[in-house]
Structures are given as structure tokens and as C-alpha cells.
């Protein structure tokens, strides 16, 4: 099939189309690869939303469980949305799933990428509010280990950072080419700094808090993942406060690490961020995807994807981009 790709050299009007498609067939750049990964996660989310559990009352109950403890302007809309979903479970869930599938395909299709990324920002903000209760940030239940600040807000952040601008700004990493490197690094600092702060809150640092959170993730998981989570939980059972402080320190180092002027040191920090994201993902029980009731892979893969979009690129690529931008 790919053999039919625009290797043609026809004359006239068709030649323009052939050459245009040939340009598109160039090896994907780093930003495109991260965009495609984001598209894949949206697609996965959409298909996960078609699971039987999501069509049941259990999904509405899962949503309404995020309301308690939140201010009225957060809790009210959550309860309203949960009631509608409870009453019209099949139709609302089918629409939710379809929207996410379309977002994934829209980002993957080049002509629709801007529309899909823009729509994904709006959808992610709506789900963050109505579906995740702002990730528990306002009711004190947010922890890096349970997916704070809400996995879905990371989709919106990635969509902003990976936006294909008409004219790129010079930056040594793809996340900085739309917003500029200063704003992109500021967003990184805010995100990972907030995670470090949340790791010091009682919900994470209290004795047995981390242990209880992780062992709770083990329920319904396959044996190998439940075993890992249970072992981790029992290891942390007597080390909860210390583990919280270590986690906060690691997250704080990651937060400030992108400001180091040496690319080698930044790469090491970003590698640490990816490892930390992987560890958090395991602690999150892979987002519950293997339990039949997971709506998304949770924050781990998105944090890793974010780290990849800050990865310092080779100097040759930078020069090319800077000359194009200039």
C-alpha cells in the first residue's frame, strides 16, 4: 500500500498534488511522533470508554465520587453530569467514547490536526472539571500517586505545547516551539513543582497513606501487577512519610532541572522524569486498564510524553529550525 505513495512524477496539475504528498511522507519529526503518541492515547481512551462498565450505573457513581469535599461550583456540576449519565447511560457514554476516538483520529490525520488539538483542549478541560473534579486539587485528595493533577489536564497541556504554529519559535526542544522556551519551561516548573508540593500533603505523606493508596490500586488487577503493587505497598507501610519526602525531592529536582543550561544534564533530568513517570504508572496500577473499568492510562504515560517533548534536540536540527523561524 505504501508503495503507492507519491513516488510519482506526473506532469501538470497532478504533479503538484504528488509533490505535496511526497513532502508529507518525510520522516516524522519529534513533535509529530509525540503528537501521534498523544493521538494513540486519545484513541485508547475512546475505546476504553466503550467497555461494558462505562455503560453501567457504576460509571456515573465513579464520577459522583469525585464531588465530595469540593466547593459547590465544582461539586454541583459534577453531580449534575453524573445524574445525566446515570439516566442516559448508553447514549451519553457512546457520545463520550466517539468524541475521544474522533480526537485521536483527528490528531493523527494531518489535515485535521489543528481542529482536533483545539477540540481536545476544550474536551479535556470539560472532563477535568465535570469528570475528575479538578483532579482532587481543591479537596485535598490529590497525590502524584493517584494521578494528580488529573490525567486529563495533561492532555490539554500537551495539546498546547505540541500545537503546530504557522511560524515556529526558536527552541532546542519541541515543546518550546509554539509557546516559546521560556513559557514552556515555566509550565514544566509549575506542573512538576505542583506534584512535588502534593507529595508533601498529608494525603501522600501521612503514615500508611502511600501504602494504602497503592494497595488500593491492586484490587482487580492481574496477578503480576497486583503482586508488584502489594509488595510496594508493604514496603512503604512503615516508610510512608520518608517516602513522601523523597518523592517530593525527586519531583522538585525534575521541576527545576530543565533550567540547567547544559543539554547533557537536562537529558539526565528528563530521563529521571521518565523513570519517575514509569514508577508512578506502576503505582497507579496502569490506570486500572486491566481491571475492565479504567477510563484512561492515568498520568504516568502522559508525564513521560511530556518529558520527551522537552528533550533537547541535536544541534543540527536546532539550527535548521532556527533558520526557518528566523
Amino acid at each position: 500500500m505504501a508503495g503507492y505513495a507519491a513516488q510519482a512524477r506526473p506532469a501538470g496539475r497532478l504533479r503538484g498534488r504528488a509533490l505535496a504528498t511526497e513532502d508529507q511522507r518525510a520522516v516524522p519529526d519529534v513533535r509529530r511522533m509525540v503528537q501521534l503518541a498523544l493521538a494513540g492515547i486519545w484513541l485508547l481512551d475512546g475505546i476504553l470508554q466503550y467497555q461494558a462498565f462505562m455503560f453501567s450505573k457504576g460509571f456515573a457513581q465513579m464520577l459522583s465520587a469525585t464531588a465530595p469535599g469540593n466547593p459547590w461550583f465544582i461539586a454541583g456540576p459534577i453531580n449534575w453530569a453524573a445524574r445525566i449519565i446515570s439516566e442516559h447511560g448508553t447514549s451519553t457514554n457512546a457520545v463520550f467514547a466517539l468524541i475521544q476516538v474522533l480526537l485521536g483520529l483527528g490528531i493523527a490525520l494531518r489535515p485535521t490536526i489543528r481542529v482536533a488539538l483545539g477540540a481536545s483542549i476544550g474536551w479535556a478541560l470539560a472532563v477535568w472539571w465535570f469528570g475528575e473534579g479538578l483532579g482532587g486539587v481543591l479537596n485535598g485528595t490529590a497525590s502524584p500517586v493517584n494521578g494528580a493533577p488529573g490525567a486529563v489536564i495533561l492532555y490539554a497541556l500537551l495539546a498546547v505545547l505540541l500545537w503546530p504554529p504557522r511560524q515556529e519559535k526558536p527552541a532546542s526542544f519541541v515543546a518550546g516551539r509554539c509557546t516559546g522556551p521560556v513559557l514552556a519551561k515555566a509550565l514544566w516548573l509549575v506542573l512538576w513543582g505542583a506534584l512535588a508540593y502534593m507529595a508533601l500533603l498529608p494525603v501522600t505523606r501521612a503514615p500508611k497513606a502511600l501504602s494504602g493508596m497503592i494497595s488500593g490500586m491492586a484490587a482487580g488487577q492481574p496477578a503480576w501487577l497486583a503482586s508488584i503493587d502489594n509488595h510496594l505497598a508493604s514496603f512503604l507501610a512503615s516508610r510512608g512519610p520518608a517516602a513522601g519526602i523523597v518523592l517530593a525531592a525527586v519531583l522538585a529536582v525534575i521541576a527545576v532541572g530543565v533550567f540547567i543550561p547544559r543539554p547533557g544534564a537536562v537529558r539526565a533530568i528528563l530521563a529521571l522524569a521518565i523513570v519517575t513517570a514509569a514508577a508512578l504508572w506502576v503505582a497507579e496500577g496502569l490506570g486500572g486498564m486491566l481491571t475492565g473499568s479504567g477510563t484512561d492510562p492515568n498520568s504516568g504515560p502522559l508525564l513521560a510524553l511530556l518529558a520527551l517533548s522537552y528533550w533537547p534536540l541535536a544541534s543540527r536540527t536546532n539550527r535548521a529550525t532556527e533558520s526557518e523561524a528566523g
Binding site: M1, A2, G3, Y4, A5, A6, Q7, A8, R9, P10, A11, G12, L14, R17, A18, T21, E22, Q24, R25, P28, R32, L36, A39, G40, L43, L44, I47, L48, Y50, Q51, A52, F55, S56, G89, T90, A94, V101, G104, L105, A108, L109, R110, P111, P222, W224, L225, M289, L290, T291, G292
Partner: protein, 236 residues
């Protein structure tokens, strides 16, 4: 399946339509000599029918063990083609080097789903896939890994969709013909034209036979991958 019976029927309809379209591609290729990737189209015909039968048991036309053998052989065949692609020099390969791996993966996923699906339970249930979910829970991690890989190929195909030349462009150009190349042929559209119309050498430079739409073939891959991924996710 409960409340998602409509979804199973919808997807079964999509699979039957895809299967019918791929069958028509094969027929046009044989009757008119228009190039296409016959093994891939044939695999899609069979996969569409098998998946429709898994989604809606009353649409089952072949016994499960038979399908397992068919797709097992399919995986071996595509695996052999994929290995041949890997070994061939890049200049001789007119498609991405991992092109056939997605078909190996799809055939493997079919074998997995068929093996995991208890035929008796599914048949007795009368509504698609209700038996699959419970029985396959023994290997949920494999189902998830297969689904993730299939979604990766769906996204890859969607990304490439607009870069595939439209039939109008291909018709006006001398382009490699993968079907012929795979068969050891000349590998150009002009060669395809010669095969169909051996009137004279002067005619060879003016190609007449456009390959069947590669964009629609990619859409079939996307439809197959998404449906298969859905079925695997339902088995978690």
C-alpha cells in the same frame, strides 16, 4: 454484552462491509488486472467475516478451530513476507520495511481472540462477545498489549493516509506496483500496462492501469485495527 448489543451489530456491519469491499478489490484485480495487494485484501475478507461472527454469533459461518488454522497460517505467511522485506535492500523495497508486521500482528490477534473465546458459551449467549469477556480474563495483559500495538498501527495508518497518492495521480504516473514487485515482476505501472495490453512497446510508457485505491485500503486497515482493538479491550 447487555446494553452494547447495538455496538456489536454496528461493528459487525462495518466488518461485513469492509470484507465485501476487499472482496470487490480482489475481483477487480483479477478481472481487470488492476494492481492491488492481494494477500492483504484476502486477509481482510477473512478477518472481516471472522470478526463479524465473533461479534454476532448468528453470523458465524465457519467453525472456530478452522479460523484458528486459517489465521495461524496467515500469520506465518505474512511473517515470511515481513522477513523478506527486512532482508531486501532498502532500494528494492517499495513500501515501509515493517509494512507486513501489522498483518502478522492482526493475524496473531485473531488467533488469540479465537482461542480465548469459548465457542459454546458465545453460541449459547446469542448476543455477541458476552462469552469472550469472561473467558479471556486469564490473559488480560496480552489482550491489552495486542490492542495497544493495533492502535499504534491505526494511528500510523491514519498519519500516512493523506500522503498516499490518489488514484488519479497514480494513473498518470509510472509508479512501482507492489503486487507485481512482490511477485518478482517488473514493479512499474508501465509493466502492469504491458501485461494487460501487450500491443506494443510504445504503449508501455503510457500507463493505463491505475492501482486500486491505496487510501481506501488504508481505511480498511484502520477499520480492522480499531474493531480488533475494541474486541481485545472488551476481553479485559
Amino acid at each position: 454484552m447487555g446494553g452494547q448489543t447495538w455496538l456489536a451489530y454496528t461493528l459487525a456491519a462495518v466488518m461485513i462491509a469492509t470484507s465485501a469491499y476487499c472482496l470487490s478489490r480482489l475481483a477487480m484485480s483479477w478481472r481487470l488486472g488492476r494492481p492491488t495487494e492481494r494477500p492483504v485484501d484476502a486477509a481482510h475478507v477473512l478477518m472481516g467475516l471472522a470478526m463479524a461472527g465473533m461479534l454476532v454469533p448468528r453470523l458465524r459461518i465457519f467453525w472456530t478451530g478452522g479460523w484458528e488454522i486459517v489465521f495461524g497460517l496467515g500469520a506465518l505467511g505474512f511473517g515470511w513476507l515481513a522477513l523478506r522485506e527486512l532482508r531486501s535492500p532498502k532500494s528494492e523495497c517499495d513500501r515501509p520495511r515493517h509494512h507486513h508486521f501489522q498483518h502478522v500482528l492482526a493475524c496473531g490477534a485473531m488467533v488469540y481472540m479465537l482461542a480465548a473465546m469459548p465457542s459454546a458459551a458465545a453460541t449459547a449467549s446469542g448476543s455477541g462477545m458476552s462469552g469472550m469477556a469472561g473467558a479471556a480474563a486469564r490473559f488480560p495483559t496480552l489482550a491489552l498489549l495486542l490492542a495497544l500495538a493495533l492502535f499504534g498501527y491505526v494511528i500510523w495508518n491514519a498519519d500516512r493516509l493523506t500522503s498516499l497518492a490518489p488514484v488519479a495521480v497514480l494513473a498518470a504516473a509510472r509508479v512501482p506496483v507492489p503486487g507485481l514487485a512482490a511477485a518478482g515482476g517488473a514493479g512499474t505501472l508501465a509493466a502492469a500496462a504491458r501485461l494487460a495490453d501487450p500491443a506494443g512497446p510504445g504503449e508501455a510508457a503510457r500507463p493505463r492501469l491505475a492501482p486500486l485505491s491505496p487510501r481506501l485500503a488504508a481505511c480498511c486497515e484502520i477499520a480492522m485495527g480499531m474493531t480488533m482493538g475494541y474486541m481485545l479491550i472488551r476481553m479485559l
